[in-house]
Subunit: 264 residues, 2 copies
Amino acid sequence: MVSTIDPFFELMDIVILGSGNVATHLTYALKKAGYHIKQVFSRNLAHAKHLAEGIGAEPIDDLYYITTEADVYIIAVKDEAIAEVAATLRLRNKILLHTSGSIDIEVLKPYSSSCGVIYPLQTISKNIPLDFSKVPLILEFSNQETKAEIMNLAFKLSPLIHEYNSAQRKSLHLGAVIACNFSNYLYAIAHDFLTEQSVDFGLLKPLIAETANKINTHNPRDVQTGPAVRRDEIIIHKHLELLKSHPDWQQLYRLLSDGISHQQ
Amino acid sequence: MVSTIDPFFELMDIVILGSGNVATHLTYALKKAGYHIKQVFSRNLAHAKHLAEGIGAEPIDDLYYITTEADVYIIAVKDEAIAEVAATLRLRNKILLHTSGSIDIEVLKPYSSSCGVIYPLQTISKNIPLDFSKVPLILEFSNQETKAEIMNLAFKLSPLIHEYNSAQRKSLHLGAVIACNFSNYLYAIAHDFLTEQSVDFGLLKPLIAETANKINTHNPRDVQTGPAVRRDEIIIHKHLELLKSHPDWQQLYRLLSDGISHQQ
């Protein structure tokens, strides 16, 4: 009988270092793609157990016990801990990856000759299901051999593969913070303000969806609407009045409106 | 032969005052719903003609020629011109409506005993098709009789009908500016920044969509992600560095991050 199992799958054993949002979703996606997750490391053993549970991985809370028998080690911990974890691993001939938008590939190079980055460009919350096949993966590699192996792994997760250098990846991360994290904060301000005024925030949902949708087909500058782009000082003044009990929101309103008014 | 035409339709002749984004989409939606648009007014005759063309309406550019034979007069002009148009019409026993989020119903009352507001809560760009049946309509009425007639008309356009007073409608408009106009501006900044850095803005599109989508099921505060909510000063500092050639974006980044860091 001919085995239908891809030999690549059989060979690729993975260790996940981290148990946060990215580590969690990545682990599930890798498992789903057929990879064997050998170990899950977290400084908090309960977290490691929670993630390792049910996927047949060993939970560990001490880097000393990391196996040297896996093929790929994926560091998905907080940015400031990546270098330290890489240094402790000392796995020179294994594939060593991190998943951060902001950390240079260089931090891994002293610790492995086959290193790289898989940065999933998505807003990842632990408790919200994530379809990894729709997540763009931003890749970087230390060399061409490593590239082939990482590309192979990445394509099992998502067809949306893009290669960028560390500087570009950092820019992309900053772009994501501006376009997404900050937009979400504006949603939060609108939510809190409307709730104060006994108005249903839910009414804004179609509008928010349409605003986000429009940029799929238009340059955002070309579809800017609202009082600021019309330079409607009367409305702007009224809005600033309505926000007078929230000086921080008022300051933001002024700054954003000034930016919009002067951009064109 | 029994006519299948709703007698209400036969009676409701409409005059549209204005030729901007709201006037345009509302005119097409009313026409599609079976209403007869008698006239389209714009100070710019070419604009009036453009909109009146093909829907069998008379284009006019002088309020002196407004027919007194219609049933409903919808003022969809710039906020600051609404009172002036209403005053010129002097149609005391006709239904007089405006479509603004920010203007009080009171400005219409001296000119008609049957007045009201239909505020379509959507980001409306002239050249982007709009499905009015998905647009929440925020209604206000001068009295109960008028309410029945306006509700009837509004329901022909959209099932998403909400009654709010003028103060609440203004709050909703401000909420929409914050959540939508300002988010779009953040998209524009991200677009321009990434283009400068030779990175494809298109990569952010799934992320932007997911960010907007998350608030359908979550309070925005509960799904805030990014360096500011983690109080990751190292990343924040790097991002401010990357924005150093754009002091206005840098200032916005700082203010938004401070707001996010201090909200929880």
